[in-house]
Symmetry: none
Subunit: 264 residues, 2 copies
């Protein structure tokens, strides 16, 4: 018994059977998969029509609706989740599936002249999707290979505790100045600048030295860039993908001797 979850599959069903199965799938909030020859009409934000052909139709429990042709990455017609109602009807010459939603008001009608396969599925999937590299990966990459940031940078510590929080990477540059690095996995926003500013002020209160502030991220907003310049801070482009690669290539290496195993 490999599958605790139930699944209903019909091959080349009669329209009457298909209608029942599809209705069941909808009322049970199952994922519906239909393959068959159909024509499609869409009306809503735009409108479109597609004469008959074999397609794959997927109706999900949240209202997401997808129709795929034999080629191409993107669905030829679709409907995003949100206020979507599905409905099926056995017509004179075929079977119609409709997806209707309000706000924005739109509807798709799929008219099947022929159905080859129906599957009603309970897809058990509670896994969380994780997009790498994480911010932590980026931090590790910088610690292992500081030249990713700038030639001559030497990390002193990471996750250094200061008044407002924790500094991602704390370092010195070639000229011996202190460097505070704030890492963002995505495009840096104003919040990143604010954070960095607070860290630097905290450092300056303790050490009466010149302190540089660097935001390391794959991008930065246009106006954030201005804010950064005004605040006398710097931006360094850092690609999460490149960080991941760096980690992969150096993961067996230990941290440099001047860094202990634990953050200071």
């Amino acid at each position: 018994m490999p599958n605790p979850r139930s699944m209903t599959v019909l091959i080349d069903p009669a329209f009457s059977d298909a209608e029942k199965a599809i209705n069941n799938a909808f009322s049970q909030r199952r994922t519906l998969l239909v393959v068959g020859n159909c024509s499609i009409d869409y009306s809503g934000r735009a409108s479109s029509s597609l004469t008959p052909g074999d397609r794959i139709v997927i109706a999900k429990a949240d209202g997401s609706f997808l129709i795929h042709r034999s080629l191409g990455n993107e669905p030829v017609n679709w409907m995003p989740k949100g206020n979507v109602v599905f409905n099926v009807q056995h017509m004179e010459h075929g079977l119609e599936i409709r997806a209707i939603r309000r706000k924005p008001s739109e509807s798709i009608r799929v008219s099947f002249a022929n159905i080859r396969l129906i599957a009603a599925l309970d897809l058990a999937d509670s896994a969380e999707f994780s997009l790498n590299a994480s911010e932590q990966d980026m931090q590790k990459a910088i610690l292992l290979k500081p030249e990713l940031l700038e030639e001559g940078i030497k990390p002193i510590s990471w996750e250094k505790k200061v008044e407002p929080g924790f500094i991602d990477v704390y370092a010195t540059d070639k000229q011996g100045r202190l460097v505070v690095v704030e890492i963002k996995r995505k495009t840096a926003g104003k919040d990143a600048v604010l954070q960095l500013t607070r860290y630097i002020e905290a450092i300056k209160r303790k050490a009466d030295r010149e302190v540089r502030g660097i935001i390391a991220s794959p991008g930065i907003g246009k106006d954030v860039q201005r804010l950064l310049a005004i605040s006398g801070l710097e931006f360094k482009y850092l690609d999460p993908k490149k960080c991941a690669e760096t980690l992969r290539h150096t993961k067996m290496r230990r941290l440099p001797e001047y860094l202990g195993e634990n953050p200071s």
Copy 2:
């Protein structure tokens, strides 16, 4: 015999059978559909991982690769067509499907712990997708709402017969000059300019008045633009989508009184 095209369906197959069926599907360039419990790793433009769960996997003949979860409009992982190679392997504890492409270099590995459904499909689909509004819709929109074109335009007739053919929209502008409008649903080419030129010459032969010529389309070629300028004609950007929207919002309204029910 409802289906001239062949289709292979396996329900809860053994991995060895699954491997054969999938290999066949790949070598025969069929559309492959797999439902089962799998984990996914992606590495390429970014990288991601997803722990096990039930998903729908679609591999198309052009290399398009899609993995859908139970919810959401968009695939959790995917690969666009282009230099993609599929491959399948029966492992110790399951079955792996790989999609690999170069330029950009990326790969997806789908590791099935369990397969519930396999379908290998020949999707016969030669239909052409048509996104409305049609040229006719654009014409209607202009007639209903001439300000789409220009403030003060007053349509006189549509599909007006002249020597070389039919004028899409015939009108007067604010200054009382005659206006000939040529509508194109897509980017206008030299043919549109030629057509328009001929219509204008035909009108000028009859009416000894100043005549303007306007091409209304969602775009125009760079060199066509030059040709247009040389010919003393004009281009007006007109969005088919906006036209469709205009029609939707005004479809119950009748044509203005100065226009009859039939073209002149």
